[in-house]
């Protein structure tokens, strides 16, 4: 076994110990980290792998959360059953929104996604279709029931959320080594060359966008079940920015880097909260730390390692 495997085993073992060693508040912080890790992993497909600047990811998070909340409170569908529906609906919304703007380059796409995020938030506040509950949002979302076992306490949610993170990591890391993952690598590095080699770039970009949006939607469903109350302010521009920062600061394109980024961006301000003297200035330190980290680790803390093709070496020799 190599060092990487040992690292993963150590991390999983440490995480498994968390709910047994920490108090409910601290476990809840880990739950938040898990949710942001999910969101960042989903954005990583769009931003890190496909190289599309998306700073409105909270919109899909919101679509998922509101879908789950609506289906649960109005139709009485179990919240975990709404998980796939949230994902599918968020993915479809992502597809419909991205289709006309997917050809926009870089920063133009960035501001359009910011705009989409804001439009979704304002639509939620204005109680669009009369189902979003306006500025107050939706409350009274039922707790999830997993094979007859009711999930309500932070350490129970810990297993739900981090279990889903583990599943996501397994899925996304095998996706990275698939035809799809290689196509994204190619079109990110050189759009024109990829197109020239017969890769349908628009299709792959749309697929990546849809997949990222769908996963954010499922994260939204988990969030709704954890909070049991959701409101538009949980899905504002700042949320999109935080997810964006996690991906870039952690190391865009690298799954381990993105998860580390979630720990730093969500966890560190919580650590500062413990020191009373710092509580006023904790965001000040946070901004300062972001600048310093970027200046010293310009490619993120854990940038992806270049792909190694072992088979090619064997064939040549």
């Amino acid at each position: 076994m190599n060092r990487r495997m040992w690292g993963i085993i150590a991390f999983v073992a440490a995480m498994a110990a968390v709910p047994f060693c920490l108090n409910p508040y601290q476990v809840d912080v880990f739950n938040n980290i898990g949710l942001y890790a999910l969101l960042a992993l989903s954005l990583n497909i769009i931003l890190g792998d496909a190289g599309m600047y998306n700073m409105g990811h909270a919109a899909f998070y919101a679509v998922g959360a509101y879908t789950a909340a609506f289906l649960n409170t109005q139709l009485g569908i179990g919240i975990l059953w709404t998980l796939p529906i949230s994902g599918i609906l968020a993915g479809l919304v992502g597809l419909v929104l991205a289709r006309p703007v997917i050809h926009l380059r870089g920063d133009y796409l960035l501001i359009v996604t910011v705009g989409v995020g804001e439009i979704v938030r304002i639509a939620l506040i204005n109680n669009v279709f009369g189902v979003t509950g306006g500025p107050n949002g939706i409350f009274g979302i039922a707790r999830p029931v997993f094979f007859g076992f009711k999930i309500a306490k932070p350490h129970e949610f810990f297993f739900l959320i981090w279990g889903f993170v583990a599943l996501t990591v397994l899925l996304f890391s095998s996706l990275k080594n698939s035809r799809f993952g290689r196509a994204l690598d190619y079109l990110r590095e050189d759009h024109v060359a990829a197109e020239g080699s017969g890769i349908d770039t628009a299709r792959y970009q749309l697929l990546a966008f849809m997949l990222g949006a769908a996963w954010a939607g499922m994260a939204g469903c988990l969030y709704a079940s954890k909070m049991s109350i959701i409101s538009p302010e949980s899905f504002n521009f700042w949320e999109s920015v935080v997810i964006f920062i996690i991906v870039i600061l952690g190391g865009s394109g690298n799954i381990a880097g993105v998860i580390l980024g979630a720990f730093l961006i969500v966890g560190l301000p919580e650590l500062f909260r413990e020191f009373k003297a710092f509580s006023q200035a904790r965001m000040w330190f946070f901004g300062l730390a972001m600048m310093i980290m970027m200046v010293f680790r310009t490619e993120g803390i854990l940038p992806p390692r270049p792909r190694v093709f072992k088979d090619i070496d064997r064939n040549v020799s």
Binding site: V101, L110, V112, I119, I125, V295, T298
Partner: protein, 301 residues
């Protein structure tokens, strides 16, 4: 019709402010291809510095309202320009050669940093600009009663834009800025000091943004420490609308956005005001992917 023209003049005044901030975004983008997310917070810094200078120096009583205001503009411009240049040196210069999005995250960090610096110094409450800096009279233009402050805001922003345009087009330094925006390496080979040009851009852009902050303080009479986010986002939208990197585009985009917002709020719905602005942006970008005045650049092969 009265209502329509009142909203139009209001939109033009707000649009002038957006345009001033948008110029900072577009100039920095022109030379560095960087979205300076901290720009909105430099604008907020201008609003707060203006407030402090206004209350502590008492310029009005010493030199009269108009000269006092002119001096205030000079001071705020200078201080915010200095802050902008410091920011460039500390947070952006080390990232010149790194991936573009790293500099964006550094800019976001700088934004949080400046916003919280303001919060720690001034507190998180809304601050009110002193009343009576400008006489609260209305000017009659073709039978339309327009508040003096609205005209002043619009005229000041137009004057600054005209001055900037002349500077960029007619002076040696302006030519150097344009050259760096087109091709940094070629500009360096022609003997242009690129670092110095970038520094100057970071003096001018935030300087204009600072004045915009002062104007917002005068126009609405109150400031808060998070205002940089909203105005920054709007102004960045304006810059993209006009075609980012393009100076007349930022001016046009700002004015259009201001007018659309004012008319949208008056005739469609106040609650959907911000959504309307973004919707118009998306529609325009679908039709013209490089903005209104942006040049069509073919993909390099």
């Amino acid at each position: 019709m009265e209502e329509f023209f009142q909203q139009l003049t209001n939109g033009l005044a707000v649009g002038g402010i957006y345009a001033l901030i948008a110029l900072g975004y577009t100039m920095v983008y022109g030379v560095l291809k960087l979205i300076n997310f901290a720009h909105g917070d430099l604008f907020a810094l201008g609003a707060y510095l203006g407030l402090t200078l206004l209350t502590s120096l008492g310029l009005n009583s010493r030199v009269g309202p108009l000269a006092g205001l002119a001096l205030l503009v000079v001071f705020v411009t200078g201080l915010v320009a200095l802050a902008g240049a410091l920011l460039e040196r500390a947070a952006y210069r080390p990232l010149r050669q790194s991936p573009r999005l790293s500099a964006v995250v550094s800019a976001l960090g700088a934004s949080i940093f400046i916003q919280n610096t303001i919060m720690l110094i001034y507190g998180s409450k809304i601050h009110v600009y002193p009343k009576g800096i400008l006489p609260a009279v209305a000017v009659n233009i073709f039978g339309l009663q327009v508040p003096l402050v609205r005209i002043l805001v619009f005229v000041v922003s137009l004057l600054l834009m005209a001055a900037l345009f002349a500077f960029i087009q007619k002076t040696r330094l302006g030519t150097a800025i344009r050259a760096v925006a087109i091709d940094q390496d070629a500009a360096r080979l022609m003997g242009i000091n690129v670092d110095q040009v970038i520094m100057i851009v970071f003096l001018i852009g935030p300087g204009l943004g600072g004045v915009a902050g002062l104007l917002v303080g005068l126009y609405y009479g109150q400031v808060n420490f998070t205002m940089g986010w909203i105005y920054g986002l709007k102004a960045f939208t304006a810059a993209i609308l006009g075609g980012i990197g393009n100076i007349p585009g930022a001016m046009l985009g700002g004015l259009i956005l201001g007018v659309i917002e004012a008319l949208g709020a008056a005739y469609v719905s106040v609650a959907w005001k911000d959504a309307i602005a973004f919707l118009v942006l998306i529609v325009i970008l679908i039709a013209r992917p490089k903005g209104l005045l942006g040049e069509r650049v073919a993909d390099k092969i």
